[in-house]
Symmetry: C2
Subunit: 204 residues, 2 copies
DNA sequence: ACCTGAACACCGTTCAAGT
DNA sequence: ACCTGAACACCGTTCAAGT
């Protein structure tokens, strides 16, 4: 049916990725690494030692660096689906709720996503070059989704203060840095307060 | 004039601290370390290598740990004066401006303080036990000052949403974690937006 | 092509030896 | 009492040797 045999990779586990032209053993290692990273990130945070991830996957450390030169590459791959889901949620919310409410709900959704991954918020703000591409990846994918929400709310006169999607993404991610220790409810309240700030200026 | 000879320690440099009953050479090392840490923190951030601080002060690493067992002890000592100044600013602002404005200005002042110390915001949210006492120190000193500002604004009906000083301190410090990379103006705008959120709810 | 893991660099922290 | 710095543990990253 399909003349390209390389991409016959149906039946993979959810979070596994198929790459063209890689040897079968390499593909197995990639999958094992993604599986391992997912578990290790959940237990030890996204800043877990590379050796822990390698051991857990049953491969040498060099293999980790071969397939994922930057730690951000691994993080990105592990959470790609969730990032996508987050972007998709924007259109769903826009259909179900009135503009500001959709905006607020989306920001809380984004907060939930980041806040439940230990170390992710910190990684997003790290200067370490090994995390370098991570903010770009997140922002590039989510910024357009959020932009639409903001523009809709602005058009409906429910928000009038000029604010960029990037600023809001950044604010939410920042507020998540503290969640590891404290309560996620605090962060949610603060985000709601922020949205109220947007509403308030619209009214004066 | 004074029968206690130990506390005749006038003429010290600004940021130096005098401790009772320490040997003269130890006191010299403490002062050198504070001076060194101040410089190194400014250039390399508060997470700079201990060896760098020790070398810069001309002492061995062991001496750092002797006088400042936790890194937070060193950070606390270096910034004590600025923390005090921040607390004092609360009463000055309360005298000069109307309640909400004083509150907003104080938060921006606190933001400025944290945001201009590289790594400090991250340290405040770190789980590392070596930073353990740091948040407590900051919150214990600043929480009462902020509490007064909030209560005054609430009494004047300029703010009605229930919010604790700790939540606001936490929010500001969180927003600073991203400042190392980006613009401090973003953070300031967000804080203003937050205060607007407090105002808005007061009006409905 | 790909894998392994020893090796190196770097950093935090301790503690035996010295004054 | 206090200081020094070698020593140890731990972690990131590379690369020679092997398949």
């Amino acid at each position: 049916m399909n003349d390209k045999t390389e991409d016959r990779n149906e039946g993979l586990e959810p979070r596994q990725q198929a790459v063209r032209g890689v040897r079968a053993d390499a593909q197995r290692n990639i999958n094992a690494l993604l599986q391992s990273a997912m578990t290790v990130f959940a237990t030890s945070g996204v800043d877990a030692p590379v050796r822990e991830i390698a051991d857990n996957a049953g491969v040498g450390v060099g293999t980790v660096y071969r397939h994922f030169p930057l730690r951000s590459d691994l993080i990105e791959a592990v959470f790609r689906q969730e990032i996508d889901a987050c972007a998709d949620a924007a259109v769903d919310l826009a259909n179900k709720y009135k503009p500001v409410e959709a905006l607020e709900r989306w920001m809380l959704c984004y907060l939930e996503f980041i806040a439940t991954k230990r170390g992710l918020a910190a990684a997003l703000h790290s200067n370490d070059p090994t995390y370098g591409t991570l903010p770009i990846c997140f922002v590039e994918e989510l910024s357009p989704a959020l932009k639409t929400l903001i523009e809709t709310a602005t058009a409906a006169d429910e928000v009038s203060v000029k604010i960029t999607p990037d600023e809001l993404l950044w604010a939410v991610a920042s507020l998540c840095t503290a969640v590891d220790n404290g309560d996620i409810e605090h962060a949610k309240n603060t985000v709601s307060l922020l949205v109220d700030g947007l509403r308030y200026r619209a009214n004066r």
